[in-house]
């Protein structure tokens, strides 16, 4: 491949995409296994799995858009919207189960009042639990996190396709970078977080540094890879 100014731009896009994924994970309200037992606030699954599910749905949308246009803004926005749709559909259907099957009101144990709706939280936290369900602040935070994940995934995918011209290879590489950053962020929050109102959210600079280093290394590899079959 030829090394020119475009190579540096591609590299920077990949690094920014990785950082967005890493920070976006901090916004996604995941409660891990306890949340599946309505024992903790948030979505009842692992951080990486949910972030990957939404970010990669965004990657599918971005890949489709990139096959018909070269406009980076349309590609990135489509990726964000695809990821947000997946995340919101998941949180909404999860809320139905909390509200209509478990029969519990939504409450966060990390704040006394929901910063968005100003609803009081402690009276609605069930005894022996640390909250349950997905209050509005968590839902909005999850939507923001999904948008960042979707933008990040699309920003990693876009330069890769321009470099090697092979959508399949680029998608797999983007999935790999996505997972690395999501796992680093997940370690930083120790597996669970409620969203931007959670005190753990203040730890994001540590994940930022770790993702910067990891994505920079992966970015160098990414701009050097050559197409396996076909390609530009």
């Amino acid at each position: 491949m030829n090394f020119d100014i475009n190579t540096i731009i591609y590299f920077l896009e990949i690094v920014v995409g990785g950082l967005l994924v890493g920070i976006g994970v901090h916004f996604v309200p995941v409660g891990g296994a306890p949340a599946a037992m309505a024992q903790a606030t948030g979505i009842g699954t692992g951080t990486v799995q949910l972030a990957a599910g939404s970010g990669l749905t965004g990657l599918l949308s971005a890949g489709l858009m990139m096959s018909v246009t070269d406009n980076i803004w349309a590609i990135v926005a489509t990726g964000a919207v695809g990821a947000m749709i997946m995340m919101d559909a998941t949180m909404l259907t999860g809320s139905w189960i909390y509200a209509y099957a478990v029969g519990a009101p939504f409450a966060s144990a990390k704040v006394n009042y929901d910063p968005i709706t100003m609803y009081s939280q402690p009276p609605y936290v069930a005894p022996g639990t640390v909250g349950q369900g997905i209050p509005t602040v968590c839902f909005v935070s999850g939507t923001i996190g999904a948008a960042m994940g979707g933008v990040g995934g699309a920003l990693i995918y876009y330069p890769l396709v321009l470099i090697n011209g092979n959508p399949a290879q680029s998608a797999i590489f983007a999935i790999g970078i996505f997972f690395v950053d999501a796992v680093l962020a997940s370690w930083n929050i120790q597996g669970t977080i409620e969203g931007f109102h959670d005190p753990k959210f203040k730890k994001w600079p540590a994940a930022f540094k770790a993702c910067l280093v990891a994505t920079a290394i992966l970015g160098i590899v990414a701009v050097l890879i050559t197409p396996i079959v076909g390609g530009a």
């Binding site: 489709l64 749709i85 069930a126 839902f139």
Partner: protein
Amino acid sequence: MDAFGMGLCAAMGALATVAGASEDIDSDIGSQSNPNSQVQLAAQVGNPHRIYNKAIAGEPPSNALWCTTAAIMAYMLIETFHMPALFAIASGAALAALFDGVMSTSAYFGRSASQARFNQWIYLDIVRYTTPSIMAHVWITSFCITTIAYIQVYVLTPHHPFPIPVIALIWGLTVGAIGSSVGDIHYGGEREFQWRLFGQGLNTMLSGQIVRKAEAGLRNSIDNAWFCAKFGGPCTGMGFGLTVFLDNWRTTVFDPVTQAGAAIAMGCIFILIMNLYNFYCETSARRKYGPYPGYKGDIAA
């Protein structure tokens, strides 16, 4: 927008709904994912049980594996041997189900055997009649998702640039993430602990005290599937169906080349509606259920 594209979009939504529901019921029968922690703990706190216990991996990676396996075989049969799509996809799904059967059985044996010191038995009758139902559900999930990938790559315009296995990998991860986030709550939060007070999450003190008796006899995993198929499964299906349908609908109705802005704006409207709907759910649950009676703090409800 053309009627054919809209029909395909609706078919993909329907397939996704079925895939989501069967994925969740598969995980409920096998006690995979989050509720597995309680099934695993039960024997250790003195409650040996007859619940199937497989945790091959987290739901997203394991479903990604099944769907990709099915998609790779289907892709190979279609591209290399020019087989009819339906036959190729069904064969791929059968291979995925066989893989799942092997891993489920070894997971059940391994997990139960490791708990022999807690008096947990290996029940061969459970292996015999529960494993085929797990495999059947995996067959349905991987068949539906490979069909969605096939439609996206070969039929729906614009054709998706990713090959079938990559799309199946991504949709497999997504359906697993949704099944793990949505359906598991019905199984873990409600079905496993039906004897505690209704209307609250699981008190930490009750961890591992899962229900072991069924409506008749001892409870097994088929009883759990019967219960979760009423609400948890359909909700998971709805979550995945909405994701696939809404995401594809906006690029089918609006041409992504000339009307990209409209497609993105439509997606934003969906997102806004879902945010407002969740706010309605929260407000309605708070109003109907009220605060917990034992609360002694000084913050007013």
